[in-house]
């Protein structure tokens, strides 16, 4: 890596820290002026200030803002220390589509269990994720993808006594 590369790396890193600090400060201001008043109900009479339900949230929010400010000053005025991020491992060439698919499957995990039942959802998502990860052997895809979720389901339901949602298959059990 040439010196100019390190320089641009540094400048990028520094800019990232500054953006982070500014966003955090903005968030804490937003929190203090809008979210806390809207989200915390405070009773009419409070004997001591620390007894109020809003006391700690305000103190913490101010703390976050303050440390973000310190971080901002540090990022602007002090030399940047590059993180130990192993840049050697770059992102996957198709990372955007991969992430999109992952998010889709996570949403499936959130919405489907109550309709399709947890075991079926787990089977579908597990097979899909293995396929995205590069597995092509049908035996592994179907074998592992079906057997493992079913076994784990049986363990949860019968050993740990956690009845996972069954959705459509409710009446089968």
């Amino acid at each position: 890596m040439s010196e100019t590369d390190i320089d641009t790396e540094n400048r990028k890193g520094r800019r990232r820290e500054i953006v982070f600090a500014v966003l955090t400060i903005l968030a804490s201001v937003l929190f203090a002026f809008f979210v806390i008043p809207a989200g915390v109900t405070s009773p009419a009479s409070v004997k001591h200030l620390p007894l109020s339900p809003t006391f700690l949230p305000y103190v913490l929010t101010i703390g976050v803002g303050l440390f973000a400010l310190i971080h901002l000053l540090e990022a602007i005025f002090a030399a940047h220390i590059p993180g130990e991020d192993d840049a050697s491992l770059g992102t996957h060439p198709h990372w955007k589509s991969r992430v999109l698919m992952l998010v889709g499957l996570l949403v499936l995990y959130l919405l489907m269990p109550e309709r399709l039942g947890m075991p079926l959802t787990a089977i579908v998502v597990t097979i899909a994720l293995m396929a995205i990860g590069g597995e092509r052997r049908p035996l592994i895809l179907l074998g592992v993808g079906i057997a493992v979720p079913l076994l784990v389901y049986l363990f949860f339901a019968h050993v740990a006594q956690v009845p996972l949602p069954m959705g459509l298959f409710e009446d089968w059990m």
Partner: protein, 501 residues
């Protein structure tokens, strides 16, 4: 006395008791290793089985489950960064990096040795000093507690990772997250926005699993190649020299565990982090912590297992359950017609001795079944990542659901997984967030309780214990911050000189 001990021995040495301990520990290790299924849950599940057993056997079964569960949590923490039980969250800080370096075997074994040694020391304290240190449980009123928590919070400085300010922000965000739910004193809503699922607060285990395990899964799909495959075939073991050099850390961690365990309600997670913070503070190479320092694994496991025996101290000596697990064990005692407390030492001393003998033995059983568990669980690491991670994700989902049988918690897990991933990307340590989240309610509750008990602010300085913790809190914060600043300056100096060269 000797006669009692002899009778105790007689009472203990039955096949049933030995089987109960072994079965208990094995069940505990297995359940504990699964994210979402905690030691508490395992103990509650085992409780109905004790109804028809005799008292000693029943209690030993539960104690076995508890101890196995506490260790079991570290297995998945090390292998897949998903702590099986909350108390193992600290173990992953160094355990997982070790696994990434292909030294999973070493990390697992160190976790086991530290657990067993700590467990043993904790049991010894239970047997010999129970009556002596039980008083500690009652010496901690709200103000003393408040300062203890303040001291614990200074550990955040030690686990902040590369940037102190970011670590502190992370800790504060954790504290802030812990305020979600119904207010303790007034019962008013805080940040729940009329959502009934949030009224009890954000559940702890989904948050934990999401914060630590999920980012690894997400990262796998973003990165170019599989970052690593853990190889257990590496046969890495703990060398005698490593064990020796970690011994001080383990013993110190055990005693931190014993003290925290004796104080009701403080919990194993706090003990693990305190022990870890201490180990890092006294280490010659603090910068290697969090990057796969074997001593870090030893420290946190010693801390959380040191708690296990000690939580029985207030239970047996005073009849006070310090946490949910001991509350269940208290229930088991009462179902057997026994009432833990000073009276039990008078009336049923042989039963107590029999239980003590069993508890001592449980450390040995833990070593054996732990070795066995490591051998089989470690195979997990041989599974290729693209097959393993979808299964990890499934466990995260199942486990989050299991805690309260709520789909909402699966959502919580995914949300904190996303947060954890963002924090990973911006180099913000997640451990302080967890620490803040755990200690937040204890901090606020005791602050406010102190004000409720006394109108007077001097209540915060009412006892020597308060003063001790005030002093060590200030010292710890000061020393910690100074150390971090120095480390940063040293890095800058190194950078400048290399830039100049």
């Amino acid at each position: 006395m000797l006669e009692n001990i002899a009778t105790g021995f007689e009472m203990f040495f039955t096949l049933g008791n030995l089987l109960a301990i072994t079965a208990g520990v094995c069940l505990g290790v297995t359940v504990g290793a699964i994210p979402g299924l905690t030691a508490t849950m395992a103990v509650a599940l085992a409780l109905p089985f004790t109804f028809n057993l005799d008292p000693v056997t029943g209690i030993l079964l539960l104690v076995g489950v508890y101890k196995g569960g506490v260790f079991g949590g570290s297995i998945t923490a090390i292998l897949i960064r998903a702590p099986g039980t909350p108390a193992a969250a600290c173990t992953l800080l160094d355990g997982y990096p070790l696994a990434q370096k292909g030294q999973a075997g070493k990390a697992l074994n160190m976790a086991l040795y530290a657990s067993c040694i700590a467990d043993f020391l904790s049991n010894l304290s239970l047997i010999f000093f129970a009556s002596l240190i039980a008083g500690l449980a009652l010496a901690f009123g709200p103000p003393e507690y408040f300062w203890l928590i303040c001291f614990s919070l200074t550990v955040v400085i030690s686990i902040s990772g590369s940037s102190l300010t970011k670590g502190l922000i992370s800790g504060l965000l954790g504290l802030l997250t812990s305020t979600i739910g119904l207010d303790l004193v007034y019962g008013t809503q805080r940040f729940t926005f009329d959502n009934f699922n949030l009224m009890g607060g954000v559940s702890y285990i989904p948050l934990l699993i999401g914060l630590f395990a999920l980012p690894e899964v997400i990262d796998f799909y973003v990165r170019k190649v599989a970052p690593f495959t853990v190889k257990t075939a590496d046969k890495s073991r703990v060398s005698l020299a490593e064990l020796k050099s970690s011994l001080v850390t383990i013993v110190r961690g055990s005693f931190i565990g014993v003290i925290i365990g004796t104080i009701p309600g403080a919990g194993a997670t706090a003990a693990a982090f305190l022990s870890y913070g201490e180990a890092r503070r006294t280490s010659k190479s603090p910068e290697t912590f969090g990057k796969g320092n074997i001593e870090g694994v030893a420290a946190s496991e010693a801390g959380n297992n040191g708690v296990a025996g000690a939580t029985l101290i207030p239970l047996l000596a005073l009849g006070i359950p310090g946490d949910v697990v001991t509350a269940v064990i208290l229930g088991a005692f009462m179902l057997q017609g026994l009432t833990p407390g000073p009276l039990m030492f008078q009336d049923n001393i042989t039963i107590i001795y029999a239980i003590f003998i069993g508890i001592m033995l449980s450390s040995v059983v833990l070593l054996g079944s732990g070795k066995l568990a490591i051998r089989y669980f470690a195979r997990i690491a041989d599974i290729p990542r693209h097959i393993l991670l979808p299964i990890v994700l499934m466990f995260c989902v199942f486990g989050s659901y299991a805690v309260q049988s709520q789909m909402f918690d699966v959502g919580v897990m995914l949300a904190f997984g996303l947060l954890g991933y963002i924090m990973m990307k911006i180099d913000m340590a997640a451990a302080p967030f967890l620490m803040g989240f755990i200690l937040g309610p204890l901090f606020e509750d005791n602050l406010r309780r102190s004000f409720l008990i006394s109108e007077d602010i001097t209540i915060f300085f009412r006892s020597p214990i308060c003063w001790i913790f005030i002093v060590i809190t200030i010292l710890s914060a000061f020393v910690g911050v100074r150390r971090e600043l120095r480390a940063t300056r040293a890095k800058r100096d190194a950078l400048r000189s290399s830039g100049a060269a």
